[in-house]
Subunit: 365 residues, 2 copies
C-alpha cells in the first residue's frame, strides 16, 4: 500500500499545468464550501500544540491536526524559526503535511506545507473579505511587506476589482521589493513612509496587517479615522502577546475570528472580552445574508490559522496530483503479510533471512 510523496518540483508541475490563478480560485471556492458545511459535531480540529525550544536556537515545532469524519485526516507540522532567513537563507516557516486514511491509519500522501500555508492564508482572507468587505472595494492597504503580503494581495485580487495597493513596512528593503514581487498582478503598488501611514489606513477599503511584530510591541499604529466600511484582515497575530491592532479599533469593529479559542490565546481577540468577539468565520459564511449589512461597517477578520484550511488545500493538491499522475508512490509502511508477525514484510522475508542467517552461522562454527 503506497503513499504519494510530492516534491517541490511536483508541486511546481501541478501549478504549471493547472495555472496558479486557477488553483487559487479553486482553493477559495473549496475553502468557502468547506467552512459553510463545517459540522462541528463530526469534525475534530483541536487547537495546535507543539514543542518550543531555545537550543540550538529559539524555535517552535507545532502540529495542526484536522479530521472532518469523512475518511481522511491531515496533520500539518510547522516549524517556526525566526533566525532562518538571516542565518540560513531559509524562510521562517517551513512545513510539511501528511494526509492519513482514517479507516486504516495509512499515510495516503505527503507534501509541502510552506507554500500551501501561505496560499491558504491568503485564500482565507479573501473569503472573509468576500463576506465582510464591500464587493466594489478597490483600494487595498498592506502593513507588513513580507511573504504573506504576496498571497494576501494575490488572493484578494481574485475577488475584488483592486485598482491600487498602498503598502508600508518598517523595513525599507521589504517595502522596496514588494512592487517587483507583486508585479504579476498588474495593479499599481504605492509605498508610503511612516509619516504617510495614517493616509494609507484612511484610504483603504480593505487592509491586511501581516507583520512579524514582536510579542508585546503592538499595536502597529494608534486608532485612526477609517472608511466606515473598512474591512481588516489581521493576519500577523499568532502568539501570546503578539498583537497588531489597537484595542479601541477592535472595540468599534465587528470582530470575526477564524478559530475562536485559538484567537483568544494567540490572535487579536487576546485583547477582547468574550462578549466583544463576534461569530467565527464558519458561522458568518453559513448565514452570509444575515451578515450582509456588515459590509458597510468596520469589520476585522482575526486570522490565526485554521487546520481545516490545511486539510482542504492538501486534498485539492493531492486530487490534482492523482489526476495528473504526478508524484512518487512509495511503500513506506512495513505492512506484514501475517498481521501477527511483524517480521513478515517486504519482498523476501526478513524473518526467514534471520533464520537462514542464524543457521548458516551456527553451521560455520
Amino acid at each position: 500500500m503506497s503513499s504519494l510523496f510530492l516534491s517541490s518540483a511536483d508541486l511546481e508541475s501541478i501549478f504549471a499545468q493547472a495555472g496558479p490563478d486557477s488553483l487559487l480560485d479553486e482553493l477559495i471556492m473549496r475553502l468557502r464550501a468547506a467552512f459553510r458545511r463545517l459540522d462541528s459535531g463530526a469534525a475534530q480540529i483541536p487547537p495546535r500544540s507543539g514543542l518550543s525550544y531555545r537550543s540550538p536556537g529559539l524555535g517552535l515545532l507545532e502540529w495542526m491536526p484536522a479530521s472532518l469524519g469523512e475518511g481522511s485526516a491531515t496533520l500539518k507540522v510547522v516549524g517556526y524559526h525566526p533566525s532562518n532567513p538571516a542565518l540560513r537563507g531559509l524562510p521562517t516557516v517551513i512545513s510539511s503535511i501528511g494526509q492519513f486514511d482514517t479507516s486504516t491509519g495509512h499515510l495516503k500522501g505527503m507534501l509541502d506545507g510552506t507554500l500551501l500555508t501561505a496560499m491558504r492564508t491568503g485564500a482565507m482572507s479573501a473569503i472573509a473579505s468576500g463576506a465582510l468587505a464591500r464587493p466594489d472595494s478597490d483600494t487595498l492597504g498592506i502593513v507588513g511587506c513580507g511573504a504573506q503580503a504576496v498571497t494576501q494581495a494575490h488572493a484578494l485580487s481574485r475577488l475584488f476589482p483592486l485598482s491600487r495597493i498602498i503598502a508600508f513596512d518598517t523595513d525599507p528593503a521589504a517595502m522596496g521589493s514588494l512592487r517587483r514581487r507583486l508585479g504579476f498582478l498588474d495593479i499599481p503598488v504605492e509605498t508610503v513612509d511612516r509619516a504617510q501611514l495614517p493616509e494609507l489606513l484612511e484610504r483603504s477599503d480593505i487592509l491586511c496587517t501581516c507583520t512579524s511584530a514582536e510579542p508585546g510591541a503592538g499595536p502597529l499604529f494608534p486608532d485612526f479615522r477609517n472608511r466606515s466600511h473598512l474591512h481588516i484582515n489581521a493576519v500577523g497575530s499568532d502568539f501570546h502577546d503578539k498583537i497588531e491592532l489597537p484595542v479601541e479599533l477592535l472595540r468599534r469593529a465587528f470582530v470575526c475570528p477564524d478559530f475562536r479559542d485559538q484567537a483568544m490565546r494567540e490572535g487579536e481577540c487576546q485583547q477582547l472580552a468574550p462578549s466583544e468577539i463576534g461569530p467565527e468565520l464558519a458561522d458568518v459564511l453559513k448565514s452570509e445574508s444575515r451578515f450582509a449589512s456588515r459590509q458597510n461597517e468596520l469589520t476585522v477578520f482575526d486570522s490565526t490559522g485554521h487546520a481545516l484550511a490545511d486539510y482542504i488545500a492538501t486534498e485539492m493538491i493531492l486530487d490534482h496530483a492523482n489526476r495528473m499522475g504526478i508524484g512518487s508512490a512509495i511503500e513506506l509502511e512495513c505492512l506484514p503479510r501475517d498481521p501477527k508477525n511483524p517480521y513478515s514484510f517486504g519482498a523476501g522475508s526478513t524473518f526467514e533471512r534471520l533464520q537462514a542467517g542464524r543457521n548458516a552461522s551456527l553451521g560455520a562454527t
Copy 2:
C-alpha cells in the same frame, strides 16, 4: 534541501545488510544509554494525544512527539484500527515517523513506524528486564501470542539465556502459529491451555503480557503464586480501563512505569494510587545498582509506549540508511529563493510563469 524517505524495501535492505540481531542489539544499547542520560529539563516528551472517531469505523490516530533538545525532534503518527486484520488483512497498528531538524523546522527523514514500534517495544522490555529480572532467567512466559509476542521474545533472547518459552492465548490460531513465528530463535516453545495457565505463570522467570484484551474485561488471570524473583513486562495496557494484571499482584510488586503520567491514564498504574507506583524506568537505569536487589523480588514494568524510544529507533535506522546510501532523497518543501516571495521556489519560477501567462493571455484577448 532534501528529506530522506525510506520505503519498506529500503528498511528490509538495512535489516539484510546490518543483520536483524545486530540491529536489535544496537537498539537495546542505544535505548538504555538514552534513558540513562534522559535530561527531563532539556527533553520535551508530551504524553500522546490524538483523534478518535467511530466513522467509517472505530479508530484512533495519535501522534507522539519527542525532542531531546539536541537538534532533532521526531513525531510518530500511529493509527490504531482494530478492524484492520479482519476487514482488510492489515495490521491493527500502522505507523509512520518523521524526523525534524529543530534548528530550521526541516523534515530530515521519514520512515515506517509499524515495525519500529514493535521492535522498540520489545527492546524496552529487554532493558527493563535487564535491570529488574535475574540475569540467569531462562523461562519466559508469554500471555498473548500476537505480533508483540514475536519482538518481546526476540529482544529478551538477546539478553537472557532463555531455554524455554511457555505461551498462552485465548485464540488457538494465534497460539498455534507462535512456534513457527518464533522458529528463528531456536528456543523450544510450549503452549498451554487455559487450565494450565497457572502453571505457566508459576514457572516463569520473566513474563510478558501482550494481549489485546477489551477495556473493562481485565485482569487476564487472578493473582497467583509467582516465583519470588518474577519480573513481568506488562505491555498490553494502553487504553483507559484496559488492564492485564490483578491489582493484588501489582500491590505486592515493585512497579516501574515507562512514563508515569501516561501509565496512570492508560497502563496498569490506572489501578494504583500514586504512592504505590515506583520510579520510572529512566530513574531505575540511572542508578541501577541501587535497584539491583529488586532482581530477587516481584517486579512489573508497566509499558505504555515512550516517544523517546521512537526517537532513538528512528535515529538509529536513519544513521544506517545514510551510512549505506539507502533511501529516496526528495525535496519536499517549497523553499523559496527569496524568503519574502513564497512563489519563488523550484527550477523555474512559478511567479515568473504566472506573470508570463497573464501577459500572454492579455495579449491574446
